[in-house]
């Protein structure tokens, strides 16, 4: 699914350059379950944004499903994001002016899905994450963990083949974390490719493969059995 060679990302912010990724090579096969761990600031979210085609690398090459991403125009990139990739952001990225149903159905609008079917799918996912009774609320009327669950529902609504989850359980209590991880591991069992950034050893412990990042590089790889 994902093939990256020499991915580098430098944020150039005036006086200080931040070298967030340093010539990273990464291969992720279809159907794999990877966790990505590492210290705060080590480049995990940056890597996830590049894999998810939400940002461009400063240099390096990246292929998704055999196509080099640099050769794709904006429409083709949007199509990949909206049809194939579900992204659970670390900061949720919910839209404050929309209610929960509208937030969850948003990827389907971009995919030109029919309105009734969009709403039905969005509501069924809100039910799966335990928030159907709040569907007409807005994000600022929710707790931290509740917002996270809406973000998860939205990431899954377009039935993506690649799920990128950046700290999906960080704001959740143990029981809700377990429920969300069951949801995600069931999707992996159905054949989805799953990449999860996590600080939680219990989550990393469920992955087949664990990528350890530090200071903008992949320092070493292990397996979930180490947890």
């Amino acid at each position: 699914v994902v093939r990256a060679r020499d991915l580098t990302k430098i944020y150039d912010t005036g006086a200080v350059s931040v070298h967030a990724l340093k010539a990273v090579d990464l291969d992720i096969q279809t159907g794999e379950f990877c966790a990505v761990v590492g210290p705060s600031g080590s480049g995990k979210s940056t890597l996830m944004h590049l894999i998810g085609c939400l940002d461009s690398p400063t240099s390096g090459q990246y292929w998704i499903d055999g196509t080099e991403v640099a050769t794709l125009d904006d429409d083709a990139l949007s199509a990949i994001r909206n049809h194939h990739i579900g992204f659970i952001f670390q900061s949720f990225n919910l839209i404050a002016q929309l209610d929960l149903v509208a937030n969850v159905e948003l990827p389907l609008i971009y995919a030109n899905q029919h309105k009734n079917q969009r709403r039905h799918l969005a509501l069924s996912l809100l039910e799966k994450v335990g928030l159907a009774d709040r569907s007409h609320h807005r994000p600022n009327q929710l707790s931290g963990g509740q917002m996270q669950r809406v973000a998860i529902a939205r990431a899954l609504v377009n039935d993506p083949s690649l799920i990128l989850a950046d700290e999906p359980t960080g704001n959740l209590d143990s029981k809700t974390s377990t429920e969300i991880m069951e949801l995600l591991t069931n999707l992996h069992a159905e054949g989805k490719t799953l990449v999860i950034v996590t600080h939680d050893p219990r989550v990393a412990g469920q992955a087949e493969r664990v990528i350890h990042m530090g200071d903008g590089v992949i320092q070493w790889e292990g397996t979930g059995r180490e947890y």
Copy 2:
């Protein structure tokens, strides 16, 4: 420090009322270290906001340092917040248009602190949380865990006697979590009162007292030794 009787909070949002807190009684003594745990949506952040005078209860009574909060005018409330309470928000609440130093020094501006001293204090706290080299960056140029650390620095800059921390380690890796917890427990050892909402058993395990919330009430209390 804190005395609450029958604290109730109902969010009335059109068709649905959310009963976030249900007649909660709570006493916290000066110098105490409490953790607050419980499922997502159980009322922890709501309780913290009421304790920190950031919101008003629907009903109930609340005294801080012996003064009933309902009798205080806005200036007196602001004085308490700015001089005595440090708040680490679950969502950081950093100001996007300000750089990190300006974010951290903000409580001191409200306290009419002299500019040079403000900046010196802000910079020394940014150093304590490992971000002095990024002081002129803005929040959107930081990782999730880095934003959290700035929020912690800001909460501590006015040397508050009561520290309310809502999930201070949720976005942090294990090593940085340990460093932040050492910082906070050292402050407790100096006599500060510390109330931490957490989903992390390692953090709850360090508290003397652990308050278990569920469905808008305090269900039971325990101690950190259970962890």
